[in-house]
Amino acid sequence: MRYKLPFLRRACLAFLVLLFFAVPAGFRTADAAKKAEKVGDQTCLTCHEDVGKSFAHSVHAQKTTTKGYTCEACHGPGSVHAESMDPADIYNPATDYNPVAPNPCLTCHNGPQFTSATASAHHELADGCSDCHQVHSTEPKLLKKQGSELCVDCHKDIGAKFSLTSHHPVKEGLMSCTSCHAVHGGDNKFTHTDNSRELCISCHTDKAGPFVFEHEPVNEDCGICHDPHGTVANNLLKQTEPFLCMSCHPVHFHTGIAGYIGDFKNPLHPERGGKSTLDGFKSGMLTKCTQCHTQIHGSDLPSESISSRGRSLTR
């Protein structure tokens, strides 16, 4: 596969030139804040009484260390705004968010869970932290909506997958998006671990191994066979068996054998038998590979036949 590096180089160069000649626009609010002075909470509440009422019960109000100037701890000095009453004359985290500038919320919220927040895609969202958090509210964690409802508000495509037949129990309320995803920025793709396999086996420990007999895609990435959010096929499989298996493996060679039409009994095991059909081997070999290859995630036991070298994952 040849990469079109010359094109990429040209694109990067054009982008840098664009940056160089970019018209500086600045942030008016930041300039306004520089000139302003603090006026204190009472002045703010003169007009914003309704906000003050709900905010009084919020965690921020309870935990503040800037008594008397609580509003301005986040919004910055408000004297210019108090005089002009122009919303543009005061910093509003919900509308004036600038992902390039230091995030005012992270001044206090600088714990380990936020270590990668400034590099995360969520950090670039339209309104930053305010996209998910309502600072003046009294809801737990000041979230606009609780649980997965908040995430699905933007990630509707993922929300839809949880309605498919096979899904992690998120819509049942038994898990939440944050069970897997570190919403403030994770080690990899917003997950709690640095690779997807490690994330899955932190709960599905029985699939982790290491096993003597391996199934290679299990070691590579669980996402090769599974879609964690939801699928039509059982067990979160991206396709139904046997088609998923046949994406890599040839069809079992017994598939092409013609079946006898009629009832039969096994001569050596008379308790075994049943109704045989012409297509019996096809339905036997092309329905569900894991009926025989049960240990699809790996096993420490060799399979029965020597010629398969023990790696058929049947026990």
Binding site: M1, L8, L19, A22, Q62, K63, V100, G111, P112, T115, S116, T118, A119, E124, A126, T138, P140, E149, K156, A160, K161, T165, P169, L174, D187, D194, T205, D206, P210, E214, E216, P217, N219, C248, P250, V251, F253, H254, A258, G259, Y260, G262, P267, L268, H269, R272, S276, L278, S283, G284, Q291, C292, T294, D300, P302, E304, I306, S307, R309, R315
Partner: protein
């Protein structure tokens, strides 16, 4: 027994946190909110219960929920719980004492329904002709002694988290975490024997899996530098008993003769052998993290070293990983985010010692011993850089470029030369032309050289070119490996994706979103067989919140996916 102990630990921790709160110095104006909910779910799943209701109730009775939130000065207490029945309940409690102590305890249990495979597709006897008129030798049969049984297990998860600061050492935070996952119930295990004829037995197997995870660590802030260390021990035990099955004597399926011939091709014949091997894994890991401010920028780095040991087989899986991320405002309006990661995994090789194939038989005695080199053993590297340009409040642009490479030391697939390389590019534009209206346009392209592929190739040539092994008169099944070719994969080598989204917030009470996602993946390595994977996802959402008491949501999303993948077809016998 351990389950009860763990529940007791969780309850004790909760009580401890409540007692601690009771003795704390609260502020003057406490605020308490509470909510009690009594209701019931109805699930009408009678006909499809086992298929659809994997986690859903499918039975109906009252359920109760309650929530309490209390703030008092700098102290916080949140308690919530749900009770449906002993198998399905949840309890969460978190408490914060000023900035000195924080405790979180949660308990959650649910029931997961598992399938009972009736195996009705596994009944056939070979025909001597192609029209099915005369019975032949090969057979498939099954035995499910409990066709009406229901299988499933209860999953209980307990999480405890404690964070403490020491008075006088505000820069130091100590952490202690515990997590237990306990799964118990029954599952259907299928066990197959395929000599003298293929027969599958269903066995009611006990599920008894326990995972215990304990982590302790400390965070230290020294000026612009923060350092964190966590040691974690994870223990997994499958305490299910060992189940055994009598494997048929290997023989001719009709006349019972040729026992020596057939048995010489099997590991065991006419013997009782275990069908499961309960796993026991211990894992110890050390995680180091550091964050430092570099002027207006920030660098975050982490390193992990871990060793997971399969105690039953004495297999070690060692991982060493590191990643670093730099965030820096390059110009007043430009921020750069660069990151790189390195992941090295080494799994012990295992020598598989097998008896010779057809030992003592004419033309037999071939050695099938082999070294199992693990596909886990690999080096995974990734680097990316993103430039974010904020022109004004109305216009933002970002460009992400990255490259990743996986080097597989022992992967026995020659065509990929042991390496997979991925390059990606993702420009994104955000516009806010007027107050309340936000538009986002994201495009991404990903090019992969040698995606993951099956190690033993994809297709088979005609078997006519095969000749029997010396001293044999037949071509055997395992010889097909010589015919396999096709170093291709059903994963895409080129993938384009577009994501367009419009959000209109008319006021705090009305929000409207509309968008569409589309992607197409193709495999250019495979010119003769068409491979495409397409998705199209239109979406629409409306939120109405007329006042603080009411919110109405209307969401619609449709996923259209189609894939014409590869199907690997045998040429020898089919």
């Amino acid at each position: 027994m351990r389950s009860k102990q763990s529940i007791a630990v969780a309850v004790a921790a909760l009580v401890a946190s409540l007692v601690l709160l009771g003795t704390g110095a609260f502020a003057q104006q406490p605020a308490t909110t509470w909510q009690v909910w009594v209701g019931s779910h109805y699930s009408g799943l009678q006909d499809y219960r086992d298929k659809v209701a994997e986690f859903d109730w499918a039975t109906n009775s009252p359920e109760f929920a309650a929530k309490l939130s209390h703030t008092f000065g700098k102290n916080v207490l949140d308690v919530s719980g749900l009770y449906y029945d002993p198998k399905r309940m949840a309890l969460n409690a978190s408490a914060g004492l000023g900035g000195w102590l924080k405790a979180d305890v949660s308990y959650r249990s649910f029931y997961r329904r598992l399938q009972n495979d009736l195996m009705e597709n596994l009944v056939v006897r070979e025909a001597k002709d192609r029209i099915g008129s005369a019975p032949g030798g090969k057979m498939i049969t099954h035995d499910n002694p409990t066709p009406a049984a229901t299988f499933g297990y209860t999953r209980r998860e307990i999480n405890t988290k404690l964070e403490a600061r020491i008075p006088g050492l505000k820069m130091l935070k100590l952490r202690l975490e515990h997590r237990s996952i306990l799964e118990d119930g029954n599952e259907q295990r299928l066990a197959a024997m395929h000599c003298s004829s293929c027969h599958v037995e269903a066995i009611d197997m006990k599920v008894d899996r326990k995972t215990h995870d304990v982590a302790a660590g400390a965070d230290l802030d020294v000026g612009p530098v923060s350092i964190s260390y966590t040691a974690r021990i994870r223990q997994f035990r499958d305490d299910a008993p060992i189940y055994e099955m009598k494997y048929d004597t290997a023989q001719h399926p009709i006349n019972g003769k040729f026992v020596e011939e057939f048995s010489s091709r099997e590991l065991f014949s006419g013997q009782v052998a275990p069908i499961n091997s309960p796993l026991q894994v211990d894992q110890l890991s050390h995680v180091f993290k550091a964050k430092a401010h570099l002027g207006a920028g920030e660098v975050v780095a982490s390193a992990v070293t871990s060793n997971a040991k399969n105690k039953v087989k004495s297999l070690n899986l060692k991982t060493n990983a590191a990643n670093v991320r730099l965030t820096y405002p390059l110009l007043r309006k430009v921020k750069v985010v660069a990151q790189g990661s390195y992941d090295r995994i080494k799994n012990d090789p295992v020598f598989i010692d097998l008896p010779p194939w057809r030992a003592g038989r004419p033309g037999g005695g071939q050695n099938f011993d082999w070294w199992r080199y693990s596909s886990l053993t690999r080096t995974d590297m990734e680097a990316s850089a993103q430039v974010l340009y904020v022109h004004s409040r109305a216009v933002r642009f970002s460009l992400l470029g990255g490259v990743g490479r996986i080097i597989r030391d022992d992967y026995p697939y020659q065509g990929a030369k042991g390496k997979t390389t991925t390059m990606k590019l993702r420009p994104e534009l955000r516009l806010r032309p007027v107050q309340g209206l936000t538009a986002r346009l994201r495009y991404s392209v990903e090019v992969t050289d040698n995606p993951f592929a099956p190690y033993n190739y994809f297709f088979e040539r005609s078997g006519h070119s095969l000749t029997p092994l010396p001293g044999n008169t037949l071509v055997y099944y395992f010889q097909r490996r010589q015919l396999r070719y096709g170093n291709i994969t059903s994963l895409p080598t080129l993938e384009h994706a577009v994501d367009v989204k419009l959000t209109y917030r008319q006021s705090s009470s009305v929000k409207l979103t509309a968008g569409v996602k589309a992607s197409i993946g193709t495999n250019k390595d495979n010119k003769e067989l068409s491979f495409k994977h397409r998705t199209l996802q239109p979406q629409f959402g409306l939120t109405l919140s007329p006042n603080s008491h009411w919110s109405v949501f209307l969401d619609y999303s449709l996923i259209l996916e189609d894939q014409n993948g590869l199907l690997s077809v045998p040429m020898m016998d089919g």
